[in-house]
């Protein structure tokens, strides 16, 4: 079941995090905090960047705000706030809030790094339009990502995740939790890599049409594999099974790691 064609997405992910740290140290930053009413309520963040990167990680426990950091050139940019609408006019960025839902948008077409600190349980709906990576760390809420020409890297995630990518790799490491979150990770031409904690139980469903599959978990074709789509699928059960983890790529390869 092992092959060597898969390019190391984890190494790529580590490089991204390191480059982020260096970039953050060198560039000017614009920071502001968006307080959210209704502590204890579910926080929903929708964020869309036209070009650049979204980097999201959890705030300390009990936080009920969203912290926005923009990696921009030159001096910090002026931030305006009026009736729940934060804006950075210089780059056309807005953060609009309604109760505990925040919507971040920007029309800025040049690369822009947006770092967001959010409550750990926040539900995230993220989108990239013209490329730029999405990086996630230490999050437990449900996540949905539409990525266009973007790599998606997640570390220490505990909630269900749906990622759809046109051109880009997906590399997700779930936290060491006993209840596996469901996942659906689909890309047309990138690789998909998932790392499962040893104690989780999941049902794996992998489809690689022209790429290869490399799995630490034994996989087999389903009994009723009639049409070409069914024949391209391999399934495997980890532990007692449970949540579905679906991985699919047309041109890329799929990797499952279970340390």
């Amino acid at each position: 079941m092992r092959t060597s064609r898969f390019r190391s997405a984890s190494a790529g992910g580590a490089a991204l995090w390191i480059s982020w740290l260096f970039a953050a140290a060198a560039a000017a930053e614009t920071r502001f905090t968006v307080p959210l009413p209704g502590p204890g309520e579910a926080v929903v963040l929708e964020a869309s960047v036209f070009n650049g990167a979204l980097r999201i990680e959890s705030l300390p426990a009990g936080a009920t705000q969203i912290e926005v950091t923009l990696g921009n050139e030159g001096d910090p940019l002026p931030v305006e706030e009026e009736q729940g609408l934060w804006s950075v006019p210089a780059i056309g960025l807005t953060v609009e809030t309604l109760e505990n839902r925040a919507v971040l948008k920007t029309r800025w077409t040049r690369p822009l790094i947006v770092r967001l600190g959010v409550p750990r349980q926040a539900r995230l709906e993220l989108q990239t339009v013209m490329g730029g990576d999405v990086e996630l760390r230490d999050l437990d809420g449900a996540i949905e990502i539409k990525a266009n020409n973007s790599d998606v890297v997640g570390r220490s995630l505990g909630g269900p995740i749906v990622v759809s990518s046109i051109e880009g790799s997906i590399d997700i490491e779930f936290a060491a939790v006993k209840v596996a979150p469901a996942a659906s990770l689909v890309t047309w031409s990138g690789d998909v890599r998932v790392v499962l904690a040893p104690e989780v139980g999941v049902d794996l469903r992998l489809k690689a049409v022209s790429g290869e599959i490399d799995s630490d978990v034994p996989l087999a074709a389903p009994a009723a594999a009639g049409n070409p789509r069914q024949r391209s699928e391999l399934r495997g059960r980890v532990g007692s099974g449970g949540a579905d983890v679906r991985m699919e790529s047309y041109k890329g390869s799929l990797t499952v790691r279970r340390p």
Binding site: R123, A142, I143, E144, P160, I161, V162, V163, S164, V179, A182, S184, V186, W188, R205, V209, A224, G226, N227, P228, R229, Q230, S232, E233, G242, A243, D244, R246, E248, Y250, K251
Partner: protein
Amino acid sequence: MTEARENVEELLESLAQLEELAALDAELGDASEESAEAGSLRERTRFAWSSVAAHDPGLEVPSDRLRRRFFAELETRRERQTPAPSRSSLGLAAATLLVGLGVGWLLPSRTVAPQSDERVVRLEQEVAQMGQLLTLSLLDHSSANERLRGVALSEQTLTSTEAASDEVVSALLETVRVDESENVRLAALDALAILLERPQVRSGLAEALPLQQSPMLQVALSDVLSDGFAASERAAFEQLLERPDLDPVVRERLQSILGGGEL
């Protein structure tokens, strides 16, 4: 709204029957083996429980104490039943009901005696109906994660009942056609792929094919329909081939299907 209220009332009635069955089981006592029907039912309620538990990871494992609390709460809610539950409250009701199922059946194994077979069959039907209600509710959710859970639940329904609900099949076909998430559309397609012998499914998927913008869906749908396709499906392939912006990989695959080549 009226229909939703009827559904909730139906669910509440089912719960009452479940309570009766639980009481009957308690009278029958423990034994080493259970009937195939009861085993099947247990497996499905276990899945239903896992679906509900996924909504609330903090949910405790069912216990007698929890079960008593649940039915006490149910009785309270019955007394102050609201006149017009919303669509979301229907989903909540269905989810709550499945908690009841889990609570009732995830207790230690019991034997179901022959005299309770009829009730087991009836309960199976109730579970199937409730599973379908929950499926429809989840497929209508605004979150792609929740809709995926609806698809997963529908797969259980479709494989565990001889006559899969037309309503669930229609909802899945609609999902393949227009769901905004590519992931959900692919999952729904896979759920329907086991029902290709149904004309409704084949024609519905053929109609969905030319609507797809995603090359992933275009290939997936073409592959599912590629075996023994009829004239209407050929027309769908040809309609897609007419698109000037079609991905070359998809074009090649469609031409291979139409030419009878190996995929």
